[in-house]
């Protein structure tokens, strides 16, 4: 059995990232897209922390904390927008919203 190396964590991050991309593309619901973005951010965080450990340099972890903070901001604002969107259009389907714009 191989020991757990950096590559493993990076693979996990890559998987998370790919799934985030799929969610962003496949979901029509705005909340779904938001979830996808959260996944992508988490993927980045996993990589950051893994690298930080590997290089024994805590800067990566600081970055991860800041990413989490920004994710929180983003979630708050995005949900506010989604709610407004819902109020305006009665739906949170992004395609519909974009069609209205024309």
């Amino acid at each position: 059995m191989y020991p757990i190396t950096l590559t493993h964590y990076l693979a996990a991050g890559a998987f998370l990232f790919a799934m985030g991309v799929v969610a962003c593309i496949a979901r029509r619901n705005a909340v779904g897209i938001l979830i996808g973005i959260e996944l992508i951010l988490n993927a980045a965080n996993v990589n950051l922390v893994a690298f930080a450990r590997y290089w024994n340099n805590l800067d990566g972890e600081v970055f991860a904390i800041i990413v989490i903070i920004l994710a929180a901001c983003e979630a708050a604002v995005a949900l506010a927008i989604i709610i407004n969107l819902f109020r305006g259009f009665g739906t949170v389907e992004v395609d519909y919203a974009s069609k209205l714009k024309e």
Partner: protein, 168 residues
Amino acid sequence: MSPEIVQAVIFYFLAAMLVVSCAIVVFSHSIVNACFALLFTLLAVAGFYALLGADFLAVTQVVVYVGGILVLLLFGILLTSPLPIVLGVATRRTYYLAVAAGAAVFAMLMIIVRAFWAGQPAVPEQQSTLEALGMLLLGKYLFPFEFASLTLLAALIGAAYLVRRNDR
């Protein structure tokens, strides 16, 4: 069991949890289900952090993501989706496209990862980084940290302003 084995076991367990929960998050027809699955994904990531010795981050992950963002998302879903809660996955064609794109991204990232970081030695056993992290955050990175907190504050105020019911 040697620590490596324990570590490996925990890692693979977390990885399995991640894969399954992630799949549900992405492919589930119900947005609520997706949200709950996201809980496990996030927990898995928190586990990774703990495994990597980033205990503070693990805790933060749980508190902020699970306790904050996820709840926020659920509220968002409940507030916006009329029952029955359907999820909106796009047309079948888009769906396939999405999966293909995801696969491509994954493949691509894996290629890069293997090209650069294959065969690295095992990640060493870690001590807690809490103290060092604290020093960093309130020392070298004080300004970005404070700035981030300011951003958070601004975002919260902005969000509150945005969802304020318009009386007109």
